[in-house]
């Protein structure tokens, strides 16, 4: 069973529909016991980092996710959910994340060429940096759908794929059992579904 963490951030309709499509047994939950019981955990999220980090902390779910990651459970962050896995974000100030991955979240403004539009919205091609479980069914150059104005500093060691937007922008990350993607797999057509499938699949192929 996959637990999709519900902490009051964003709309889970499309994510749940796409998990259903790939045949994953997923539940949306904010109950710690359910997250503990789950085989894997998805941390979704859209909106502002500070607000989402506060909601995670206020609900106490931050500790549960950290505890479960420490036990080796696979955790996948999506979009803002991926950014929250990192130590901190410089989105409108400086805010602390879950710290499961080393690195920080920075703004596009001032770090990508000024003529490019912000947010980075649309389909962009993936370039691989390292192998990752998430990308096992994806080909280099496959396009996925992005919507964001902040991104994980691509110098982070966990970066496994980037997309070119004036510079290499972090697209997917993985370190051991903690992973995530900046783009929206639930809005990235077949390529996106294959990324969710790669995460949800058990190692024994069931």
């Amino acid at each position: 069973m996959i637990a999709v963490v519900d902490y009051g951030v964003g709309n889970l309709f499309s994510l749940c529909s796409s998990l259903k499509r790939i045949g994953a047994d997923a539940i949306v939950t904010s109950v710690p016991e359910m997250i503990r019981k789950a085989d894997k955990v998805i941390l979704p999220g859209v909106g502002a980092f500070a607000d989402a980090a506060k909601k995670l902390r206020d609900s106490g779910l931050d500790k549960i996710i950290i505890e479960q990651a420490a036990r080796g459970k696979e955790i996948m962050g999506i979009c803002l959910g991926m950014q929250l896995l990192f130590e901190k974000s410089y989105e409108f100030g400086e805010h602390t994340g879950l710290g499961l991955l080393k690195g920080s979240v920075i703004g596009m403004e001032g770090t990508i060429p000024a003529e490019l539009k912000i947010p980075h919205i649309g389909w962009n091609a993936l370039s691989f940096c390292k192998e990752s479980k998430l990308l096992r069914y994806v080909k280099e150059g496959d396009c996925v759908y992005f919507v964001h104005s902040f991104y994980v500093d691509p110098s982070a060691e966990s970066v496994v794929a980037t997309a070119q937007y004036g510079k290499a922008v972090t697209a997917a990350v993985q370190k051991e059992n903690v992973m995530g993607c900046q783009f929206h797999p639930e809005k990235s057509g077949e390529v996106g579904l294959s990324i969710l499938r790669a995460f949800c699949e058990r190692e024994d192929g069931v």
Binding site: F13, S17, V46, K117, P119, I121, A125, C143, Y165, E186
Partner: protein
């Protein structure tokens, strides 16, 4: 680099696609779900659904249809038509829409753009403007292009973006339905004025019109069309291949 987007637009009335289509192989040519699936499978980068019903009953059918589409189609969905309040945003976002486009509702109440952007983020708010030349000026029209608001279009779009619109759809009334190509002059004026994605609409009649558009205005992000796709005059895979042959970056 980010790819140029091709966006089919579906007008929905009482839960059905209007304008008809003549697709072969669709069991139901007016089924929004079937048509959306076909476009998605053919490489559409995004879909726009316009609700053109006036009745409350039709509105309910529209949201039902949207839920069905969003549970089966996994590409971005934009919804427009009848969006007058933040509650309308809520209604369609809950059914799986990713972006909501405002037009007459924002003309009546520009604060709608601000409130929705505050609540859902700018990436969610699309300003759609119907524009026509009047006395040598680009003028914004309301109510589906029937009513001249007297507002100058570039100023209105700049205002909308300042209020929080994260994307702009420019529908040229002058070129709409004529099928002689997009309104390059109008679109260029908008692209030069704002730094958010701009989507061209109105005038597509042939593949070369898309090539012309992306070549003439490198900063334009997407092209939207309805009937050329619905009537099968242009197949999306052919269109995208032709764009790529012309060195325009697209998702294939």
């Amino acid at each position: 680099m980010i790819t140029k987007r091709i966006i089919p637009c579906l007008d929905i009335k009482n839960g059905r696609v209007v304008k008809g289509t003549n697709f072969q192989g669709l069991s139901d040519v007016s089924s929004p779900v079937e048509l959306a699936k076909l476009y998605s499978d053919n490489g559409a980068d995004e879909l726009v659904f316009y609700d053109i019903t006036a009745s409350a009953e039709g509105r309910q059918l529209f949201t039902d249809v949207l839920c069905q589409v969003a549970s089966q189609i996994f590409i971005p969905l934009t919804v427009g038509g009848g969006i007058n309040t933040v509650a309308d945003f809520d209604r369609v976002l809950k059914c799986g829409a990713d972006k909501v486009s405002v037009n007459s509702g924002a003309i009546r109440n520009p604060q709608l753009i601000y409130e929705a952007a505050q609540k859902y983020g700018s990436q969610c708010v699309v300003l759609s403007a119907d524009i026509k030349r009047v006395d040598g000026q680009f003028r914004v029209f309301a109510k589906g292009g029937r009513e001249d608001t007297g507002m100058e279009a570039i100023a209105w779009i700049k205002k909308g973006v300042a209020l929080g619109a994260g994307e702009v759809v420019v529908n040229s009334i002058d070129t709409d339905g004529v099928k002689q190509g997009f309104d390059i002059e109008m679109l260029r004026a908008v692209c030069d004025a704002v730094n958010v994605p701009v989507i061209a609409s109105g005038g597509a009649g042939a593949v070369e019109h898309f090539t012309d558009l992306f070549r003439a205005i490198p900063t334009i992000d997407a092209a939207l069309a309805a009937s050329v796709f619905h009537f099968g005059q242009i197949q999306i895979p052919d269109l995208k291949q032709e764009l790529r042959n012309n060195d325009i970056i697209v998702r294939l």
